[in-house]
């Protein structure tokens, strides 16, 4: 048995929340009922008025959290650098927004925030004294399509290594460990008119090369092989090929190097079927995390919701339960 714990990101329940199947309190109660012991929040999603929620709103969150018995594991925050249509916010402006999101995270009881993948090293470093003062750790999400090798992520990690602060770290998203392209995405794009031969060829390329990210990426640009583009018939074919690079298959050994910095793990999943995830070998992931001595949380993060056909039912709650069952089984079994 490992010391790994499981949590659920409320990202997973976005459809249930948007359509009124759950409110914040019932979402937390549902998470606790899955067997998870922690919860991950997106304060921009479910805390009204963020980053300036009223004291009553904060109190309601804390009451519901206490009632659920869940630990507040991580709050996912963003910097709205595209606040205006005509320009990107300058670093000093971004810093102020980041500080406000750190404030609200601390008010809600979190000591860890996930910074979205493109958060700049410069802005994070400038916010570090403020985060240290609040006692909040800022951890960059290492996400498929922007994994360890991508320039932005690599630059942020270089800053983290140089700064040597306990208040900096990484959130690994298991979408970087896809051994095949998610089937639900393929089905969704076929419904939009994707040429079936393109889907088949992408699956073949994935199998032949590990993933399509490494095959298509050339000096920061996406270049598709000729035998693939020859199959393109519609714009959606190119879109699908581009999106296929968002499912990297990074070797699990990468965790060894970054073990000291991993503060949290996003248990990305697209489709639970037959007790397993279709694209990610969770047994291997849990074994690798156990192998590096990781004892933090893995948060179920259901991404399949966006691949449900228009007007189709989103079984986000059933999928989360299935993923939690798998995680708890693996955490108990791993030696």
């Amino acid at each position: 048995m490992s010391g790994i714990r499981t949590s659920v990101s409320l990202y997973s329940l976005q459809d249930s929340y948007a359509r009124g199947r759950v409110d914040l309190a019932t979402a937390l109660a549902f998470v606790a009922d899955t067997g998870a012991t922690g919860v991950e929040l997106i304060s921009d999603q479910m805390i009204v008025g963020t980053p300036y929620p009223t004291d009553e709103t904060v109190a309601a969150w804390r009451t519901a959290l206490d009632a659920s018995g869940l630990a507040p594991v991580c709050n996912d925050i963003f910097i709205n650098s595209t606040l205006y249509a005509n320009r990107v916010l300058r670093p000093r402006e971004q810093l102020e927004l980041l500080k406000r999101d750190l404030d609200v995270s601390a008010r809600l009881g979190f000591d860890l925030v996930r910074l979205v993948s493109d958060t700049s090293a410069e802005v994070t470093l400038a916010a570090l004294p403020y985060a240290e003062g609040l006692g909040v750790t800022m951890a960059l999400e290492v996400h498929a399509g922007m994994s360890f090798d991508s320039p932005g992520t690599a630059g942020w990690i270089a800053m983290m290594r140089a700064a040597q602060s306990e208040r900096l770290g990484l959130v690994v998203d298991t979408g970087i460990f896809c051994h095949r392209h998610p089937r639900v995405s393929t089905q969704y794009f076929l419904g939009l008119g994707l040429t079936p031969a393109v889907a088949t060829r992408i699956d073949e390329l994935f199998a032949e090369h590990g993933d399509t990210m490494r095959l298509f990426s050339r000096d920061g640009q996406m270049v598709f092989p000729d035998d693939l583009t020859a199959l393109f018939r519609r714009p959606v074919d190119g879109e699908y090929a581009f999106f296929s690079t968002g499912y990297e298959n990074t070797p699990l050994t990468v965790l060894d190097e970054y073990a000291p910095y991993i503060r949290h793990v996003h248990g990305k999943f697209f489709e639970m079927a037959g007790g397993k995830e279709y694209s990610i070998d969770y047994r291997a992931v849990v074994e690798a995390l156990h192998g590096i001595g990781y004892t933090g949380y893995i948060s179920s993060e259901y991404e399949g919701n966006r691949f449900v056909p228009v007007d189709g039912a989103v079984d986000d709650q059933g999928q989360v339960r299935a993923h939690q069952r798998l995680l708890s089984q693996l955490v108990a079994e791993v030696e």
Partner: protein, 128 residues
């Protein structure tokens, strides 16, 4: 990928605004997974029976208490469109005639880490 949230079924109707003006109104959820300041609504289009509403005749409101034209909304940074809250969209000065109409709503928002605005679109047959 968020087409499911565009143009809420059953939301389209003729209304009379608080100032006595006629308008056609419909609602949409956000084509994303978190709330955003209203200024991050990049574009919204309404097409009725093949006729696109002029941009300056559209007004939007999350919650229905304050209304902004799309150009006004570009500077509205302190008023959030909360996740799960319907955004009401009005084509001011328009009333649809009784019967069926084909109505398309297109919504694009800007998000922090995706280089191009994105969103969704939905066409519905609306019976007035």
């Amino acid at each position: 990928m968020f087409d499911n949230y565009v143009f809420t079924e059953g939301s389209a109707r003729n209304i009379v605004t608080e100032t006595g003006e006629s308008a056609f109104q419909a609602e949409t959820l956000i084509t994303y997974y978190r709330g955003i300041p209203l200024s991050m609504v990049h574009d919204l289009q309404l097409v009725v029976d093949g006729v696109e509403a002029p941009r300056d005749e559209l007004a939007i409101s999350p919650g229905g208490d304050e209304w902004f034209t799309l150009d006004e909304a570009t500077t509205v940074t302190s008023y959030r469109w909360e996740y799960g809250t319907p955004l009401a969209v009005r084509w001011l000065g328009t009333h649809l005639s009784p019967g069926d109409h084909e109505v398309t709503m297109r919504l694009r928002i800007r998000v922090a880490y995706i280089p191009i605005p994105f969103g969704g679109e939905r066409t519905r047959t609306v019976t007035i």
